[in-house]
């Protein structure tokens, strides 16, 4: 087994389920946005504010944001362990992913709840 601090007791089944569930969430979010654009072909500021001002849209967007982060985390960790063999380089890359996703989520939350 690959054991390192970047690999704490990972379970393949939960990784696999995370990938599937997050993919479904992202699919639904995309479909929803497409449908919304269909009814609001050229949205102005008020249309945007109305959409993202509602609590459920914020919650849905947050869920999508977390899904992207989880999906990217599992996927990129897999890519790293497939293709990056030197442990130091791999761990550096994994650390960078964690940091980038963290920044992405915090920043995203700030944007969503700032509306």
């Amino acid at each position: 087994m690959v054991s390192s601090i970047f690999n704490p007791g990972r379970n393949g089944v939960s990784d696999w389920l995370i990938q599937r569930v997050s993919a479904v969430v992202l699919g639904l979010y995309t479909l929803f946005l497409l449908a919304w654009f269909l009814f609001n072909p050229s949205p102005d500021y008020y249309a945007w504010a109305g959409l993202f001002g509602s609590f459920w849209m914020k919650a849905f967007t947050l869920l999508a944001l977390l899904s992207i982060a989880a999906h990217a985390w599992v996927g990129l960790w897999t890519v790293a362990t497939d293709y990056i063999k030197p442990a130091a380089v791999r761990n550096g890359f994994v650390m960078f992913i964690i940091l980038a996703l963290f920044v992405f989520v915090v920043w995203g939350v700030q944007v969503i709840w700032g509306v």
Binding site: V2, N11, G12, D15, W16, T81, Y83
Partner: protein, 236 residues
């Protein structure tokens, strides 16, 4: 037009710094020979070439090799199936260390096979005669037990190339499922517990190279899907 240009991978770690390709011209006299026959003719020209083969009828699984880019058993692969423009390139199975010429070191392959405990495990008291199985339960082993461990599948699988020490690979997983599916085996839980990490089973990306090359027409991808189903339902 019956002269075949054959290019063979040569490597002798005792005398060669690096692998090289040696060219031979073989007169097939227009016959659709098996690739193994061509290798035998080459060996008459240059007896230093080494390869493995035994049964020469697709039973022992010892002559897996890469023929014009495709893994298969040389003894049951007719030239008409792989040769294009009278050219044939023979290389060892990819992804594992080469011992010499077309012979690879299969230790990692066997280690993965060993890991899945390829034998029946049953804690119940043995009956006085034999453990019976219904014809329906026996049918579940079809398409699984026929594997001859030739390694054509695992050495064509990119996931196995990247992680041969952690990903069991299609051949090992087909056998893992062969025992998971056996009604006489009582170690289902223990077997699954050893496979639930992110590598052993879940590195399969469903590329299906394995299905594409299996000389026995088996389907490791389907077996891997079944194991995944079992893992998910046993965890949930």
């Amino acid at each position: 037009m019956s002269k075949l240009q054959v290019s063979v991978y040569r490597y002798n770690p005792e005398s060669d710094d690096a692998p090289w390709m040696q060219d031979f011209e073989i007169d097939t006299q227009g016959r659709d020979l098996m690739v193994l026959n061509v290798l035998q003719m080459i060996k008459e020209q240059d007896s230093s070439l080494v390869y493995r083969a035994s049964c020469r009828e697709g039973v022992c699984g010892s002559d897996g090799m890469n023929m014009n880019g495709r893994n298969g058993l040389s003894c049951v692969t007719p030239l008409s199936q792989v040769v294009k423009n009278d050219r044939l390139v023979l290389r060892p199975l990819p992804g594992l260390p080469v011992i010499r010429d077309l012979i690879i070191d299969m230790s990692l392959f066997y280690k993965q096979y060993e890991r899945i405990h390829p034998y029946l495990q049953n804690d119940e008291r043995p009956p006085s005669t034999e453990r019976l199985q219904s014809p329906e339960d026996r049918d579940k082993l079809d398409g699984l037990y026929e594997c001859i461990l030739c390694a054509c599948c695992s050495t064509s699988c990119p996931s196995f190339w990247w992680n041969p020490d952690k990903f069991v690979g299609p051949a090992g997983l087909l056998q893992a499922y062969r025992f998971l599916a056996d009604s006489r085996d009582t170690h289902t839980r223990e077997r699954l517990a050893e496979l639930d990490d992110p590598f052993s089973v879940f590195r399969c990306r469903g590329i299906m190279n394995c299905v594409n090359v299996c000389p026995k027409g088996l389907n490791p991808t389907r077996a891997i899907g079944k194991i995944r189903e079992m893992l998910v339902s046993h965890t949930a």
